[in-house]
Structures are given as structure tokens and as C-alpha cells.
């Protein structure tokens, strides 16, 4: 392998792997494998982690590459079949050039422009939500997702009024809502070199209004018997509950700061209770949603079920 002007070049037929690799392996073969996986988008090395050690992340990346290449079992063990195939791929498709100026020490943490969140499919852009849900024209909002670009994203409102934004971590985008938007609800989408976040089944919206109301916030919660009482702000006359034990069957009214429901009314409560018989501890995570939005961080209440 030759490093010339900061460009990683793998001449056809020049690369071989001396041995099988697995968790715990070290050395130049591991470095070569990691550089290949990074270049192909299967591996993201955490910032500050150097090449040359085959750890759990490399194993997971090898497994993803094996799945993509039909190697079975795809368990992350770099054995004879994987070695032969990767050498073949390196010969026919040299590892992509990496500009020296942006990558002086070949750290993959700066090679990847569109980092994905842990667990998400790599090389796919996804948009999850905008917070706050209600904003004024010109206000700032935060978008959560995965695969956002560190250099260029375009955010669209109803497919129009594009603005540009950059992400530092690939999972959040700070945007300024265009000042020229008239009041109304807008479907959001983000596009970059990976494509577009648009998904006909998942509409992500933001509401532009001159009188935005804050979404619900939960400050505390307690349980007595099967009755859960939530204290907070931003509750309305019709609130929906989304929890780890299921959802409420119908909207729950509130005076604005107090909200009470029965844990036994949650949609998955009975299903779980069947096998726990009142002897298990569980974390009940609670979201309250109404027309003004939803609490960004769920509230955790430990209960016995």
C-alpha cells in the first residue's frame, strides 16, 4: 500500500492479508482492513481512536460488509472467504482517495461527512423531529435525525424554501426558520449527498405561527395504587400518552399543570402483567403529546408491575 500526497492507493493485486483477523487482532493488516471499511462506509472510527486494533466496532463493520456481500455466517470474523473477497474488491476498486489537507493523519472521524447515529443504517439520511414544534418565522429550531452532512444539507419546507445547514455530529441540525414563511404547518425534509429524508409513510412537520405555544413539559410524576399523577406545564384539554407500557386509549384532559391516568389503562399493561404478576420493577417512560408538541425528553417513573 502506498500513501502518496495523502491519497490512499491500493495497487491491483498488491494487497494481501497474512492471517485471519478477529477481536483482539492487532497490526498493519487490521489497519488496512479498517481503512477499507471506512472508505466503503461500513465503519466509523470514534474520534481519537487509532487504527490497528480489531475491536467490537470493527467486528460489527466486518459483519455489515459480510451481509452486503453475501458471506455467511455474517458474524464479523475475518476468515479465508472474507480475506479473498476483500483482496478481490481492493484489486478491482481501489480505496477512495482521501485529500491530505482534510485528513492529515488519516483519522476516519474526519473522513465521513455524514455520520450516522449508533444503530442506524449508514449512508442513509433520516429525519425524526423538529423541536420546538411551534415556531415563529425566523426562530431557531433543532432537527434530530441521522446521516446529516457536516458540510452541506438543504432543509425544505413543503418541498420549497430551501435553507442550508451543517451538522457537527450527523444527528442534529440547528436551523433558522425562513422569515418569509406564512403561518401554517410545513412538511420538513432534508437532503444532502446521501439523498433525501423524504418518506411517504413518515411525515415530519413543523408549525409556523406568530403565537407559538410551548409543548408539554413533565416536572414530576408519582404513582399511588394504579393512578399516576403528572405535574408539569403545557398540558391542554386533550393530551395523549405514549409510554413504554403502551399508549392511552383516548385523550386525557388537564387543567394545564396536572394530569392523571391509570397505568392499567395503558395498551400493553395487561400483556406485560400476565407474566410479571406484580413482582417486577419496570421503568415507565412517559411522553405527553398535544397539539402544541410533545415533551422532548421522556419522564422516567419506576414502578412495580
Amino acid at each position: 500500500m502506498i500513501f502518496a500526497l495523502g491519497v490512499l492507493v491500493t495497487p491491483a493485486g498488491a494487497e494481501t492479508f497474512a492471517a485471519n483477523l478477529t477481536v483482539g487482532s492487532r497490526g498493519s493488516d487490521v489497519t488496512t482492513l479498517q481503512q477499507f471499511l471506512v472508505a466503503k462506509g461500513y465503519l466509523q472510527m470514534p474520534a481519537g481512536v487509532s487504527y490497528g486494533y480489531f475491536g467490537p466496532l470493527t467486528k460489527a463493520a466486518v459483519a455489515r460488509w459480510q451481509v452486503a456481500n453475501g458471506i455467511s455466517p455474517a458474524v464479523g470474523y475475518f476468515g479465508p472467504i472474507s480475506r479473498a473477497m476483500i483482496v478481490s474488491q481492493m484489486a478491482t476498486s481501489p480505496v477512495s482517495p482521501v485529500p491530505a489537507s482534510s485528513n492529515p493523519n488519516l483519522s476516519p472521524s474526519v473522513e465521513i461527512d455524514t455520520p450516522s447515529a449508533l444503530g442506524m443504517r449508514v449512508n442513509r439520511i433520516m429525519l425524526f423531529r423538529a423541536t420546538p414544534f411551534e415556531v415563529r418565522p425566523g426562530d431557531f429550531a433543532t432537527l434530530d435525525g441521522s446521516g446529516f452532512s457536516q458540510t452541506l444539507n438543504k432543509v425544505y419546507f413543503n418541498g420549497d424554501n430551501p435553507i442550508t445547514a451543517t451538522s457537527t455530529d450527523g444527528t442534529t441540525l440547528e436551523i433558522s426558520v425562513p422569515a418569509n414563511l406564512v403561518e401554517g404547518e410545513y412538511k420538513l425534509s432534508v437532503s444532502n449527498a446521501l439523498g433525501s429524508s423524504e418518506n411517504p409513510d413518515i411525515i415530519i412537520a413543523i408549525k409556523v405561527t406568530n403565537n407559538p405555544e410551548p409543548g408539554p413539559t413533565i416536572e414530576s410524576a408519582s404513582i399511588t395504587g394504579d393512578a399516576v399523577t403528572i405535574i408539569g406545564r403545557g398540558f391542554t384539554s386533550a393530551n395523549n400518552l405514549f409510554t413504554t407500557l403502551g399508549d392511552s386509549s383516548s385523550p386525557i384532559s388537564s387543567n394545564g399543570t396536572n394530569l392523571t391516568f391509570r397505568v392499567t389503562d395503558l395498551s400493553r399493561y395487561n400483556q406485560i402483567k400476565q407474566s410479571t404478576l406484580g413482582k417486577y420493577q419496570v421503568a415507565l417512560w412517559i411522553y405527553v403529546q398535544n397539539e402544541h408538541g410533545i415533551n422532548k425528553e421522556p419522564y422516567k417513573l419506576e414502578i412495580i408491575i
Binding site: 475491536g55 467490537p56 467486528k59 460489527a60 459483519a63 455489515r64 451481509v67 455466517p73 458474524v75 464479523g76 447515529a117 449508533l118 444503530g119 442506524m120 443504517r121 449508514v122 433520516m126 425524526f128 423531529r129 423538529a130 414544534f133 441521522s146 404547518e185 409513510d201 413518515i202 411525515i203 415530519i204 412537520a205 395523549n240 405514549f242 413504554t244 400493553r268 400483556q271 406485560i272 407474566s275 410479571t276 413482582k279 417486577y280 420493577q281 419496570v282 421503568a283 417512560w285 411522553y287 403529546q289 408538541g293 410533545i294 421522556p298 422516567k300 408491575i305
Partner: protein
């Protein structure tokens, strides 16, 4: 009586080794061990391909009986035999990234992370 004593000693030694092994593994990787029996699973509507899997019981190494969810991702979780991931009644054993929230579900006009104990790093199941 003698056999009972042997069993208790053996169980203590194995438990000790597991605890040492688990704490060493955590120190090196940040991963924690888990095990349990699947009650049911939910597909993560906003993060396609991922599953939110509820376990009863869920063993994390503590003294209290708990029940709760873990997340499986085909893009990052290494799956071992017998590949019965998320099948109700099947035992699962593996390790996980604590606190990683990767299961996003649709609620109203946005998606929210459906909380879980963590994201499985690797997992094997019984047949």
C-alpha cells in the same frame, strides 16, 4: 448435603467469575451483559429495520427482578445462532450499549425515541 455444598461453592465461583468478567468487559468496551426471555417486539417505524424487544424477565446482573426493553439493530447488532431474534418465549443472551436510544417511532407529526435499556451489541438465542 455434600452435593448441595458443592453446588453452592460452584455457583459462587461462577457468579464471581461472571461479575469479574462483566466488570472487566465494561471497563474495556463500555458494554454490559444481559439476558432474558422475549415477551414481544415492536418495529421501530421511524428507524426501519430496528426492533424494540421486551424481555420478562430481563437479567442485567442486579438483585431485583426487572422487566424491560432492549433494541436490536440489523445494522450494528451481531446476531449469533440460533437467530430467533425477537421471537416470544426465546432466551436471548448478549451484551449492550447502555442508554443508547435508536428506536424511533411515529407519534403525531414527529418521531420520538421509544426508550429502552440500551442497544444490543451482540446477541445469541436459543433454538
Amino acid at each position: 448435603m455434600r452435593n448441595q455444598f458443592k453446588s453452592i461453592v460452584l455457583l459462587s465461583v461462577v457468579s464471581g467469575l461472571l461479575l469479574v468478567g462483566a466488570s472487566t468487559a465494561q471497563a474495556q468496551t463500555g458494554l454490559l451483559p444481559f439476558g432474558g426471555i422475549v415477551s414481544y417486539q415492536i418495529n421501530c417505524s421511524c428507524s426501519p429495520g430496528l426492533s424494540w424487544i421486551w424481555f420478562t424477565p430481563l437479567y442485567l446482573g442486579g438483585p431485583i427482578n426487572i422487566t424491560g426493553p432492549m433494541i436490536y439493530s440489523p445494522f450494528s447488532t451481531i446476531l449469533y445462532g440460533y437467530y430467533m431474534i425477537g421471537v416470544p418465549g426465546k432466551w436471548h443472551l448478549g451484551d449492550y450499549y447502555p442508554g443508547v436510544q435508536a428506536c424511533w417511532v411515529k407519534v403525531y407529526k414527529f418521531c420520538v425515541p421509544l426508550p429502552a435499556v440500551g442497544l444490543m451489541s451482540k446477541v445469541g438465542t436459543n433454538y
